[in-house]
């Protein structure tokens, strides 16, 4: 069986990416692709390089070898702040909201770009507040005073302010209550409907299989397998092989 290809034109293509933290070789030639508007899961045990893959795509970890194409254009070595402006948003594992900035100021870090009209700003904010009403309530509160789940919503809303073509979403449900998890699950669907592609790193396998169209499995800094998400279930031997569950 030939591996499933994205049914749509690719938005992000990662080819043979090698990355290091200091002297330790973390990525040993990662190759994957995400189609326009596609939700793709990236699964694997802890420490196989999933987060590093996301960081290399957004340019926060330098690629020593290999390349990243975005919208058909090579973006390897382009600084993160430029990638953010052309449509790659990043929601890190530890959320990293700006603790001393208020909710609205956190959102403004993504909104205060050139070429965003006043009405567009209003629309983007209204949209974020509609998805996450709690952020509207707390708009003047410092980000650090929000609960873990609220911070996760703020981190996603902040990424949405960039009007990205893709969001790199790292463990969005980690440490959240079940009610929050289903809210995150819904927002992934909403973003998908809006045509935003997502590369999702997640420990929650059922959620990943439900939310994604395709999934990649990583092991030892490489992508070892890929599959159509709907053809897998949680008890599949492939899941057992790569995740040990």
């Amino acid at each position: 069986m030939s591996p499933p290809k994205p049914s749509v034109e690719p938005l992000v293509q990662v080819e043979d990416l090698h990355a290091y933290y200091g002297k330790s070789h973390i990525l040993h030639g990662v190759s994957l692709s995400v189609g326009r508007g596609e939700v793709v899961g990236l699964l694997g045990r802890n420490g196989v390089g999933k987060s590093t893959t996301l960081k290399s795509i957004i340019g926060l970890v330098a690629a020593r070898q290999g390349r990243v194409l975005f919208d058909g254009r090579a973006v390897t070595g382009v600084p993160a702040h430029k990638l953010a402006r052309i449509g790659i948003a990043y929601v890190p594992e530890d959320r990293r909201i700006f603790h001393l900035l208020t909710v609205i100021e956190n959102l403004r870090t993504g909104l205060d770009r050139d070429g965003v009209s006043e009405s567009r700003r209003r629309q983007l904010l209204d949209k974020a507040y509609a998805y996450f009403p709690v952020l509207a309530e707390r708009r003047n509160q410092p980000g650090g005073t929000l609960s873990g789940g609220e911070q996760q919503m703020l981190a996603i809303a902040r990424a949405m302010m960039l009007e990205p073509k893709i969001i790199l979403l790292d463990e969005p449900t980690e440490g959240l209550m079940p009610r929050m998890v289903s809210q995150i699950r819904q927002i992934i669907d909403v973003l998908h409907r809006d045509g935003v592609a997502i590369l999702l790193v997640e420990q929650n396998v059922p959620l990943t299989l439900e939310a994604s169209q395709r999934v990649y499995f990583m092991e030892k800094g490489e992508v070892r397998h890929q599959a159509v998400a709907s053809e897998l279930d949680v008890n599949d031997p492939v899941i057992h092989q790569f995740l040990g569950i």
Binding site: P79, A80, R96, L100, T109
Partner: protein, 290 residues
């Protein structure tokens, strides 16, 4: 012992005036530390260069205000250039390298000033020469004006940080450089801008303070030394803390000099520094981290 209330009042005014100037110098220093993580040993020289640019512009145009604005802008631009050529290439290296770099800049600037302007102190004529009576003293209005202008500059900068688009960029970068970058904030340019703003503030204080002391190549040294104390006592990188510490230390010194000579009163700031380092190493004006 009777308390000399009149002296006390006079020294309160003196302490606040010196404290505001010091706050202006220290704000730049603490800002640069907080955001670039650079201890700027050249800060005193930027102060000194500001005063010299002020002297030159004043001599050609005769306008103190023009001199103040020109010195701020020219030294800010110089600061931007210095940051780009010396500090930007050192990002990600051992912090020691930036200390050496700024120390080197300080030596170069100081000796350039000595070579260019000579060892004789220049004078900046204050824009207003009136006095008012404070008890038995003829107190110059200009001193009060310095305090007000410094407060206005710091206040304006605070408003910019709080509400300005670029102010939010600066605060976001201070808190999380990596995430700021991922949000599309051009962090290298934020660093350059912050260094330029800090340099401009140092230059403005140099011009403002010029009329009270002579302008010479070494004038920055005592200020930057005191500004370092203020920055540590206020909490490294904490703008509000630095301002409070500047006024606090200047007041203490002013009161101390009621009883001892002003040169001995300086000891007070060192005592405060040592006590702070011993008991509140994160700064007097920050809540102790949990």
């Amino acid at each position: 012992m009777t308390i000399p209330w009149d002296l006390f009042a006079i020294q309160t005014v003196n302490g606040i005036v010196t404290g505001m100037i010091l706050a202006l110098v220290a704000s730049g220093l603490t800002l640069i530390f907080g955001i670039l993580n650079v201890v700027n040993f050249a800060h005193g020289e930027l102060f000194m260069l500001g005063a010299y640019v002020g002297v030159l512009v004043l001599a050609t145009t005769g306008s103190f205000w023009l001199a103040l604005v020109a010195a701020t802008i020219i030294v800010a631009l110089l600061g931007a250039a210095l940051q780009i050529v010396t500090l930007r290439p050192l990002v990600g290296r051992d912090p020691m390298t930036t200390i050496l770099a700024t120390f080197g800049i300080s030596l170069v600037l100081q000796n350039y000033a000595l070579w260019q302007f000579g060892p004789v102190a220049r004078k900046i004529q204050e824009p207003i020469t009136g006095h008012f009576t404070l008890f038995y003293l003829d107190y110059p209005w200009y001193r009060l004006m310095i305090a007000l202008l410094s407060a206005a500059i710091i206040g304006g900068f605070w408003l910019f940080l709080k509400y300005g688009k670029y102010g939010i960029w600066i605060r976001a970068t201070t808190q999380d450089r990596v995430m700021a970058e991922a949000m599309g904030i051009p962090v290298p340019w934020v660093h350059t801008a912050v260094f330029a703003i800090g340099a401009g503030m140092a230059a403005a204080s140099g011009v403002l303070f010029g009329p009270l002391v002579g302008v010479d190549h070494a004038m920055g040294l005592p200020w930057v030394l005191k500004a370092f104390i203020v920055v540590v006592v206020g909490g490294m990188g904490n703008l509000g803390g630095s301002i409070a510490a500047a006024i606090f230390i200047s007041l203490l010194e002013a009161y101390a000099s009621i009883w001892v000579s002003p040169s001995q009163a300086v000891i007070v700031s060192f005592v405060v520094l040592i006590l702070t380092l011993l008991f509140r190493p994160t700064g007097l004006f920050v809540p102790t981290p949990k």
